[in-house]
């Protein structure tokens, strides 16, 4: 073990202290009228703790009580980002982990924007650590520098002779010591430094260690506050009846029986349906049951999943818009060689976060409004609420709470549920605070699904059995079309979220074409944990296995031959294979399957071991996961996200499916929208590739890889191809 050393200043990396300059790719999201600096004022919740003396920037506060408060700009929805943000600040501050508290930042895109998204505050695309890695460290380093300067002045010694360790500032020669709290007032009187020194990785005390999550205490004693738990004086609970079929509207409404229910206080019509307000959740739900609504179904959707897939299958015969083309795959595929071809089919999927959607909103006397909920894209939500209520976005104050999961749902491109809450507030004259609550049925049937897709992949092998030509056609709805994200995400008619994972296929194939047909349906859709990779990884990684079987080459060896130019893919593949028992004997009803995939700049490989029973049921017994996400900021949280992300993906492999029949959603709750349970969870071993690369996200990249790993294991046992999810039997 290396002995703790005082930081050697010369080895520190000197860096400009500006906290807004982003590293890497900047996506300037075009969200009209909400990203202007003058519209989001300072002074909102969370940023100005009264008892915090030292406030060098928007992210760290140090009080005379020695408490360090980290202001987290990202939503904590389970992925551990509050702990991640705090780790980065605490590392450079050399704080004691126990003295750190985390609070959620207010909605303020000027200070809390996602540096990879331009002037927009939000969490998603596994960007939190990636965008904030340097920003949060600089924030901590600036505070540290001020404490050091204050101590040097107080003790009349040079700054170079001062050390900071675990929240204690000391001068070793004289034995003088002071806590952060004791120095906070003097430090606060100093100018904020223009430039700060950042540690080199070998100086890290917290980054790379299994720092305990900040939220385990409140999440094990029932005290963690979720939106569902918020109470405001005079608050009413609202539930909404939505049309049973997509596209239907209210024709007539009879609320007389509903209003007679005990505790029901009102019924209002809003653009998405009819809201019933009650003293509490139960009365609102009972009121909704008694509501009589007749729906106008003139424009309602009349078709269902069967018709949608039949249409998509026909479309696979037609070329789409080209998303990538190398060489001339079309020519080779219409030539004389043997063409291998598989059609894939992926259903709609609901996010089904454990906490159904909800949002609390209240109007103040000055006309401003305040919200409490698990806000994921604060800047967009602010704009939508402002527009709905006819006020300035700066008058929309958001308190971001823990979200009971999201998996993308709370990053809704239309801010659908937030807007619903605002509409109810408006329809009731803003007189009382409203808690909008979606039931599980509302959440399951309310749309905004992972779109259904079909793929067709065709290939021809060369004399060595390696793919010479590959064409991947994709058909499905575009998530970005018609949203504020369209401008940056749709390029030349191709929605990047529909083809990611397919258009950037890493395998060395000289003639490669990826085509997309974007369809239009009245079913609202959006991103679902790992977005395009949820389907592209399955199609491409099972098809590669199919080709390897055709070539008679071991699937791992096959991939290695095609990934020579992709060391990070190879790195995770080799690690997962080495740690698993790949190639070892295994009983005759069991098999292993492999898959490797990059998403959100993180690389994941898995080896899954499955057992197939006589009745064709199967279990996933063990999975070895290898991940390369650059510098591992918190290995234990990385392991947790690999476990959880894998489990989330496994639900969609084993059992989850939303089907539409005649314009209506068939499933309604967890009895028919079934999800993974503890007894179906494999034994998981996570292996992290040591890396000095910039850190990338871990919330999503495990989700897409489990499906193909499981399907490939099943295939090697049964000889069948699995081309439709979920796989209900082997």
């Amino acid at each position: 073990m290396k002995k703790a050393q005082p930081i050697n200043v010369s080895r520190r990396h000197f860096i400009a202290a500006g906290l807004t300059a982003g590293a890497g790719l900047t996506l300037g999201l075009a969200i009209p009228g909400i990203a202007k600096s003058e519209e989001t004022g300072p002074g909102l919740a969370g940023s100005d703790q009264a008892d915090s003396t030292l406030a060098p920037n928007a992210f760290v506060r140090i009080g005379t009580d020695d408490q360090v408060t980290v202001i987290a700009k990202h939503l904590e929805m389970g992925q551990g980002t509050h702990t991640g943000m705090a780790t980065l600040v605490a590392e450079e501050l050399d704080a004691r982990w126990s003295q750190i508290e985390v609070v959620a930042a207010p909605a303020d895109a000027n200070r809390y924007n996602n540096l990879l998204w331009g002037p927009v505050q939000g969490t998603g695309g596994s960007t939190a650590i990636a965008n904030a890695y340097e920003q949060m460290r600089k924030a901590g380093a600036a505070a540290r520098a001020m404490l050091v300067t204050a101590a040097a002045a107080r003790w009349q010694v040079s700054e170079e002779t001062i050390t900071v360790r675990k929240g204690v500032v000391s001068h070793e020669a004289s034995g003088r010591r002071a806590s952060f709290g004791e120095l906070a007032e003097e430090a606060a009187a100093l100018p904020v430094p223009d430039a700060v020194l950042l540690k080199s990785p070998d100086e890290f005390h917290l980054i790379g260690k299994d720092v305990v999550r900040k939220d385990v205490g409140v999440k094990t004693d029932g005290s963690a506050l979720f939106t569902q738990d918020v109470e405001r004086p005079g608050m009413l609970v609202a539930v909404v009846t939505h049309p049973p079929r997509f596209g239907a509207t209210v024709k007539s409404l009879d609320d007389s029986a509903a209003l007679k229910q005990t505790g029901v206080r009102g019924v209002v019509q809003i653009s998405s349906g009819v809201a019933v307000l009650g003293d509490h959740t139960w009365s609102a739900l009972q009121g909704r049951k008694a509501l009589r609504v007749e729906w106008d179904e003139t424009n309602a959707m009349q078709i269902g999943s069967d018709e949608i897939f039949a249409d998509y299958l026909r479309r696979l015969d037609e070329p789409g818009v080209t998303a990538r083309t190398d060489g001339d795959a079309d020519a080779l595929l219409s030539g004389s060689g043997k063409v291998l071809s598989t059609d894939y089919r992926f259903p709609f999927l609901a996010h089904a976060a454990m906490e159904p959607l909800n949002c609390v909103i209240e109007q103040h006397d000055d006309g401003s409004v305040e919200l409490w909920y698990g806000a994921q894209i604060q800047t967009m939500d602010q704009g939508v609420v402002a527009k709905t209520l006819g006020i300035e976005p700066s008058k929309v104050r958001i308190n971001t709470l823990f979200a009971g999961g999201s998996f993308g749902r709370r990053a809704n491109p239309a801010a659908d549920y937030v807007r619903e809450a605002a509409e109810i507030l408006k329809a009731t004259g803003g007189k009382v605070p409203i808690k909008l609550v979606w039931s599980r049925e509302d959440d399951t049937q309310g749309g905004w699904y992972r779109p259904a897709y079909m793929h067709r992949i065709e290939a021809i092998l060369d004399d060595n059995g390696l793919p010479k030509a590959w064409r991947n056609r994709i058909v499905g709805q575009s998530i970005a079309a018609g949203t504020a994200f369209e401008e940056v995400m749709v390029k030349n008619g191709v929605d990047g979220t529909s083809v990611e994972g397919a258009a950037n296929l890493p395998y060395a194939i000289p003639n490669l074409k990826v085509e997309l047909q974007s369809t239009k349906l009245p079913i609202p859709i959006q991103w679902w944990r790992s977005v395009g990779s949820t389907h592209t990884a399955f199609a491409t990684e099972t098809f590669i296995d199919q080709l390897s079987h055709e070539a008679g080459i071991d699937p791992v060896e096959y991939r290695r031959q095609l990934l020579k130019e992709h060391p990070r893919h190879l790195g995770v593949l080799d690690l997962a294979v080495r740690q698993s028992q790949w190639g070892q004997p295994i009983s005759s009803n069991r098999a292993r399957g492999v898959a490797v995939h990059e998403s959100f700049n993180s690389y994941v490989a898995m080896v899954a071991e499955v057992t197939v029973n006589d009745d064709k049921s199967y279990t996933v017994d063990r999975v070895d996961v290898a991940v390369d996400c650059g510098i591992a900021v918190n290995p234990d949280i990385i392991r947790a996200q690999m476990e959880g992300g894998l489990g989330f993906g496994l639900s969609a492999v084993l059992t989850s499916e939303i089907t539409i029949d005649n314009g209506a959603v068939v499933q309604s709750n967890f009895h028919d929208y079934t999800v993974l349970r503890a007894n179906q969870m494999p034994d998981i071993r996570v292996h992290i590739v040591p890396s000095a690369e910039a850190p990338t996200g871990v919330g999503e990249p495990a989700t897409p890889v489990i499906g193909p790993a499981v399907a490939n294991a099943l295939s090697s046992l049964t000889g069948k191809t699995y081309h439709q999810l979920p796989i209900r039997a082997a």
């Binding site: 999550r213 939220d215 029932g222 476990e643 967890f670």
Partner: protein
């Protein structure tokens, strides 16, 4: 006016007979640790102990349990519950946390009936409580660890 003893304290409230215990606990009494996840007995987020036995409070009409003693996550503090909570913290089980009250109540229920469960018994009992963050891997390890510390 009805009365319920929750975590050793008598609470008085007015509720229709068919109101599920879940909503009485949450909305009338104000104990928010017990969660709503499905309302139909599928997910276990609403699990409480009624006279020491785990039950889904969304399925229990409040009128059916007069005189019984209810323990919610806030009051789960016997040796078993403490061992479960400690194991949960040591293994950093929670992610979003929303299901975790239910998980902890289900684990406490199992270990108080069966202090040394087999892996299969753990899997089956915990299989009743949905976690969409899929913390199941650690849930199972944590139940095992709690059982070991209680042994």
């Amino acid at each position: 006016m009805q009365t319920l003893t929750i975590n050793g304290i008598d609470h008085q409230f007015d509720a229709p007979d068919d109101m599920p215990l879940l909503w009485v606990i949450r909305d009338l009494i104000g104990l928010k640790g017990t969660k709503y996840g499905c309302g139909i007995g599928q997910c276990g987020a609403c699990t409480v102990l009624i006279d020491g036995v785990a039950q889904r409070s969304c399925m229990v009409p409040v009128s059916s349990i007069t005189g019984l003693k209810i323990t919610t996550i806030e009051g789960a503090d016997d040796a078993t519950a403490r061992a479960v909570r400690t194991a949960w913290q040591e293994l950093a089980v929670p992610q979003c946390g929303y299901c975790q009250s239910g998980q902890i109540m289900a684990a406490t229920d199992l270990l108080s009936r069966n202090p040394n469960p087999s892996d299969e018994e753990i899997s089956n009992q915990m299989g009743s409580t949905i976690c969409r963050c899929c913390t199941y891997h650690r849930v199972k390890l944590a139940v095992r660890r709690a059982a070991d510390t209680l042994a």
